[in-house]
């Protein structure tokens, strides 16, 4: 394998993603777990850069590290024991089966198109810019319906979240 900036970047981001993921599942401390999760997601943002999708990378950092991380820490502080989690999740075999099945499905989904007949579709020659993305979002024959549905979904999410959170309080 050729050692260039992309390869080095790929190695760094893989270490971040996998190392962070291992950190999440091994730490006993919920806050440290959050930080590990952010390290992992930061690595994923790096992958987006390597795939020439800088917009998605920025979104990844903005939404996950800027918002989700904060939300998780706020949620962590709503729980009773942050640092001393004693209960262990004991249903090992069902979770092993589920995670293995998920992993195989992913492996299948990722590798088959590469070796199958779809390989030409995977390498688009035209690089999409953020401007193309914006135009596609509002074009009648583009993604205008999903765009507006996303707004409805977000609205519903916010109303539901407020309803539940406030109900809990009273």
């Amino acid at each position: 394998m050729e050692l260039n900036a992309v390869t080095i970047g790929f190695f760094i981001f893989t270490i971040l993603t996998l190392g962070g993921a291992i950190g999440v599942v091994t730490t006993r401390n919920l806050f440290q777990g959050t930080i590990w999760l952010m390290v992992s997601l930061f690595g994923v943002a790096g992958y987006f850069v390597l795939l020439s999708a800088p917009f998605l990378a920025a979104v990844q950092v903005l939404v996950y590290i800027g918002a989700i991380a904060i939300l998780i820490t706020f949620a962590v502080m709503l729980t009773r024991s942050v640092t001393r989690i004693k209960e262990r999740y004991i249903r090992t075999i069902p979770s092993l089966v589920v995670s293995l099945a998920l992993f195989l499905a992913l492996l299948f989904g990722v590798t088959v198109p590469i070796f199958g007949d779809y390989s030409s579709e995977l390498a688009p020659t035209v690089v999409m810019t953020t401007r193309d993305l914006g135009l596609a979002l509002v074009e009648g024959n583009g993604y205008v319906v999903p765009f507006l549905l996303a707004s409805v979904l977000l609205t519903a999410a916010m109303i539901g979240a407020i309803f539940i959170a406030r109900d809990e309080e009273s």
Binding site: F55, L62, A67, T130, R131
Partner: protein
Amino acid sequence: MDELCTGLCKLMVESGADAGLAQFVSLLVGVLLVSGVPLLTVIILIWVERKVAARIQDRIGPNRVGPLGLMQTFADLLKLLGKEDITPTSADRVLYNAAPLVSFASVVLIWVVVPFTPFHFGVDLEIGALYFVAIASLGTLAIMTAGWASNNKYALLGAFRVVALLVSYEVPLVFALLVPVMLAGSMSMLDIVNAQTGMWFVVFSPLAFVIFYISSQAETGRAPFDLIEAESELVAGFNIEYSGMKFGMFFAAEFLHVFTNGILMALLFFGGWMGPLYYESPLIAFAWLGLKGAFIYLTTLWLRNTVPRLRIDQIMAFNWKFLVPLSIVNLILLSAALKILQELGFAPRDMLSASFVDVLPTTVIMFLINLALVVYLLGILRKRGQEARRESGAAQGALAQAASGAGD
């Protein structure tokens, strides 16, 4: 540092160096040059901050070390180096030490996308405007980490309040930021500045600038939003357990962030390096950017030293019930007006190549819309203020009556 890189690259390759190495070295030189600007600036900023604060408070400020006290920062640095570093035994050591580094790094990283002149900049990312918002959110996480890792009730409480404040004010900040992005039709900082050749964006929408200004004052945790430094309530807030150089780094980060915001506002709303004769020499362009940024920076210092601190409930109410709705209405009104003007053919579809005459009708109409919105708002605020005064007057009257009644 585009030109320099290719130049240095060529030179190294011609003299027999490995092409990859040459590229790496030239990138490294570029990084060091770009990062040098904020790092050198912050040394001066600490002096400026103290001197201005002193003058506003009718003091003299640092004047002993060097001419005008200019060497004061170096004296402070020496003093901080000799300070004992106290890490509480119950702290989470790794996160405790990492937090000041991330806090400072998140501010320095913003300078990657700051174009100093039309030809000298770190990189011109396609997503520049989104990049600096995303990077700034790393700073929020650093504050949360610092507060949590200190294992101190005041630190954690302070961190929680500050983080709630920072995330809340990010909403109006981004809505205000969408206005220049929409006008320029690009998130690249270079394009945003170049699109202001015809007219500065602050004239299109003074309101967007004011919202951005207020939000960035909150994002840096400056008065009237200085929950970050609530000495009277939380001893100091999230940095209470920090001492020595680590404590200093939080402050250096804050000072630099304020100035960085000044530069960003100059770029987004005041035409960046544009000014008389800017095309003559990069130095003149750079000077214009510095002057505009410094002026905005000085007004934030002025504001900081003039107004008192708000309570957290007031800060939150001001943001969610005033600033956020206002920024949304502003964006909707301006985008509607601009689109109608574009459809009618009065407004240019490409600001980059539009001249002053091209954008004049758009400017006037958008400015008038903003003015109408401000007049309407002032009317509402005036009515609210009168009501509040009447209520508090009545309450005080009742109180006075009760007091005099008790005296009898």
